[in-house]
Subunit: 247 residues, 2 copies
């Protein structure tokens, strides 16, 4: 058995997210597994670096799978891209050591969230940006972000109420980049809870709209209660941008 690592780009618009969900499957993982089964005649499990929610996109999702195949790497990649739908693309494929696991070995992830502050989204971008259409005070958002960065219990920023595992994560940085009327926000951390990026973003937007002060962030973190944080922003602005592994 060989172990292959793939980097995948997808438009999440018409999918129920990354993770496979039974038989009537409209997930990214499911689509890739279907093509690998077609190629190999066997059922193959694809391990993603993590889930992405329904409607969330990926620029560089990382996944791996084990397969017996005489095909060359390039042939497998071409086979996948030939049979995958147009909104899923395998960017690279390479053989990796047996023990590599895309989720367990992931050290750091970066998510990008895109916001249109101007009056209308650019038409070619409309499925890939959140149409907020309001001006944001980015300086205030940066002050709020400083409270959120670091190792904290992010229970207030997690939608899953039944979460029994640790909700402590190390949020390494939040970076803001303005481009005309668009704001790009990058979240880098060792891992993210369910909906964590989208709730962080919604809370920061409420700061940017002056509905909350940056100083409130400390209290929200301490409350360990989802109700104290801001709203969950919609998925179309969110991209899994990068997953980093130990070299």
């Amino acid at each position: 058995m060989k172990n292959y690592r793939i980097v995948v780009e997808y438009d999440g618009s018409r999918y129920d997210g990354w993770q496979k969900q039974g038989n009537t499957d409209q997930t990214i993982q499911g689509k890739i597994e279907q093509v690998l089964e077609r190629m190999s005649g066997k059922s193959i499990e694809v391990h993603g670096s993590g889930r992405t929610d329904a409607g969330v996109h990926a620029l560089n999702q990382v996944a791996n799978f084990h397969i017996d195949s005489d095909r060359k790497d390039q042939e497998i990649k071409e086979y996948l891209n030939h049979y995958l739908p147009e909104d899923i693309r395998v960017k690279t494929l390479e053989e990796v050591p047996e023990r590599f696991h895309s989720r367990l070995n992931a050290e750091e992830k970066t998510y990008l969230y895109r916001i249109e502050m101007g009056e209308k989204r650019q038409v070619f971008d409309r499925k890939y940006i959140y149409g907020l259409h309001k001006k944001l005070d980015v300086k205030a958002m940066e002050r709020a972000a400083a409270y959120l960065c670091g190792e904290h219990d992010f229970k207030s920023f997690c939608s899953n109420r039944k979460m029994k595992k640790s909700t402590v994560r190390n949020l390494k940085k939040i970076e803001f980049e303005k481009e005309d009327s668009r704001l790009f926000v990058r979240f880098t951390g060792d891992g993210f809870l369910y909906n964590m990026v989208r709730i962080l973003m919604g809370t920061l937007i409420e700061v940017g709209l002056k509905e909350r002060s940056p100083e409130e962030m400390a209290g929200i973190l301490n409350a360990l209660d989802r109700k104290t944080a801001g709203y969950t922003v919609p998925p179309e602005g969110l991209f899994l941008e990068n997953v980093r592994y130990k070299q």
Copy 2:
């Protein structure tokens, strides 16, 4: 009556082109006229700089219309963008002299055609680029383009067999730009016949695939016969990029 000039961006994917077509209307012109009628209570005609075909996009289509309105320019623009569908956007709106006519005064147009030569289109780009997935000899295409540029009778590059008006046009330049596995081709001229850009592009692609030699271009121009030219490339790669007017 005031005369307004607008610059419009649209994703042509789900439209039957720019030009209005009776009542069951799914055209860009029709959508804009509907919003202006809603705003003014009157039937308003919008004049585009030219038609774009079904599925063709625009980055900067120019149009004008006459209207009685007490609203400020910015208010009219915001009204339009509020009621227009997400895939049509008014980028700028300004009052212009009474006699300005977006079609009659247009001096030069530039169309952009985008081709993916690599194995798969980038997923976020898939509706905005032609998936050729074959390597092209751009040097040969440039040699062919040199034959096509200049003032010629482009009857061989026109789909409309019943064209009774002059088919002479001045094709000022064809520019090639490579970006990784993508090829961007810009056609600038004083005007273009029905399907002319898409037939020019298809013919140049046949040269790039070595199915034709660059030297054949002279014979195709001279033949004045659509059958001698290459195929019509699909609309999704085509963008009306710019329309130029006398200053």
